[in-house]
Amino acid sequence: MAEARYNGTELMISLASRLMSDNSTAFIGTGVPMLAAALAQKQHAPNLMAVFEFGGTGAVLEKLPLAVGDMRTYNKGLYAAGICDIMEAAQRGFIEYGFLGAAQIDPYGNLNTTVIGEHDHPKVRLPGSGGGNDVGSLCWRTIIIMRHSARSFVPKIDFLTTPGYLDGPGAREKAGLPKGTGPYRVVTNLCTMDFDEDTRRMRLVALNPGVSVEQVVEATGFELIIPAELAANEPPSDTELRILREEVDRERYYI
């Protein structure tokens, strides 16, 4: 697959960053999303407003924050408030993009970050919802970033931590979740996927460089919708890689 010019993480970061439009808002959690947002700000989205869970808004992402409450999340910011203020802004519809990851994902984009096995006697205790459920409930468009494997892309997840499209069309609204929200894209080391409007099931959109449909199908534990026409994801440009390596994550915490 991807040649040695870049690694899978760098690819996912650049793909995610390209999904964010300028003059918009993104709810940023720790890890890859921070790098994607920082990269977007330095590229096509200088006016992307980065919103951090614990209160930072409009920070200039010069140095990579290591934590969602890190000083860098409100460094030279425009508004340093508290977690409730930010979550309520999301509840009021102010936040366009949210980023999520998970141990397990199902065909409807529902996510598990809580337990593997039974909740009360877990095989593996995972970190929990954190802000994930709130992001998946309240942001307009959530972008899910994961490594692609049949172990994590499963027909049924052990625990539904964060809502995707639940069990199909209209289910979110029926549950009382804000109208018009839900998973927007799934970005993996193999491809980009979205969700079919009629079934709300995951659909392949674009393959990463050197990746075949067969590879994607093999790494997906459920039936994926494969459209007749597929786009191709451009690899990270030299500029993107330079910014990532020399500006965004100098210390290489993530890449």
Partner: protein, 326 residues
């Protein structure tokens, strides 16, 4: 799950003057431009662009403190006749009533504090010009803004219970699903337009307020459209130096009006005292409808804008109101 229910114990018979749809509100908030754009404009532009006849308009202030008076006078000047509003004010509500701008009101308190009842409000309500009056407590009204600001349909509260205030409001009382005890639920109040005066703002609308904040943040976040006026316009670098001083972030603001002495004849936290003589005279005269008309003709209709108003009041007089250091 099986059909469990909760008892709905009481429903206020007051009209919900401003029905809300949180998903529509979300869509409007989503559509607001998040870019840093210069939003400065005059009172005239702000009101004519962002306020429509019949709108539900909220004006934030307390007593005569931090009143957006230059914007209130512009609302009157532009001749609105059927504004719906939350009456939680003093001088500004009295003035709007005097000019017959208001048709429906969520009411909590309108009086002139130390100077007693509001004659203009009495006239406009007792005469029936104001068609609908719905009762609330001060906290309930502030909490209704807070509910909207939180993006939720209601907040539970422990006041208003057992009274006619609740009976003539649009609140409801339910059996709490956690405690089993009665609790009042007050509906979110999503404003068409919010009008707030602050100490300083940058051209994008990031606002700082000195001293007590009243319900500025709650109202700002509860407004579909938000007009702020500021005593001073500062560079954004000032905002970035202390982001924890920002009470209202730019992305909720639609218009920024530079209005020095914008609270006159009211006062401004840390900047100037209220014009006691002017207010006292106004409240005296307000007993007589003719004198009220004369007041409006002179101080509102008789001037083209806030600058002319300040000239009329007199720059020297205004400087005399400034708070001396220490």
């Amino acid at each position: 799950m099986e059909n469990k229910t909760l008892r709905l114990l009481e429903e206020g018979q007051g009209k919900l003057i401003q029905p809300f749809d949180l998903d529509d509100f979300r869509a409007l908030n989503r559509a607001k431009n998040k870019a840093l754009v210069d939003k400065r404009c005059s009172e005239k532009e702000a009101i004519s662009r962002w306020v429509n006849e019949g709108d539900y308009v909220g004006i934030e202030l307390y007593g005569t403190v931090r009143c957006p008076m230059s914007l209130t006078r512009e609302i009157i000047r532009q001749g609105f006749k059927s504004i719906r509003s939350a009456a939680q004010g003093v001088y500004e509500a009295d003035l709007l009533a005097a000019a017959n701008c208001i048709k429906e009101m969520d009411w909590t308190y309108i009086g002139l504090e130390v100077y007693g009842v509001s004659h203009n409000l009495r006239r406009t309500v007792e005469s029936g010009y104001v068609e609908t009056v719905v009762e609330w407590s001060n906290a309930a009204l502030a909490w209704r803004f807070k509910a909207a600001a939180m993006g939720v349909p209601f907040l539970p509260v422990r006041s208003m219970l057992g009274t006619d205030t609740l009976k003539y409001s649009a609140a409801k009382v339910i059996e709490c699903p956690f405690t089993g005890e009665p609790v009042a639920l007050i509906p979110a109040l999503v404003l068409d337009v919010g009008v707030i005066h602050v100490n300083r703002a940058d051209k994008y609308g990031n606002c700082q307020i000195d001293g007590i904040t009243g319900f500025a943040a709650e109202m700002a976040f509860a407004s579909k459209r938000l007009i702020v006026s500021a005593e001073e316009i500062v560079d954004t670098e000032e905002i970035r130096k202390a982001p924890d001083r920002t009470i209202i972030p730019y992305y909720v603001v639609d218009a920024v009006v530079h209005a020095p002495f914008g609270s006159h004849p009211g006062e401004m936290n840390g900047e100037y005292e209220r014009d006691e003589e002017h207010i006292k005279r106004y409240f005296e005269e307000s007993k007589d409808p003719q004198k009220v008309k004369a007041y409006l003709d002179k101080y509102v209709y008789g001037v083209a804008d806030h600058a002319e108003y300040l000239d009329l009041i007199g720059r020297e007089r205004l400087d005399g109101l400034r708070i001396k250091e220490g």
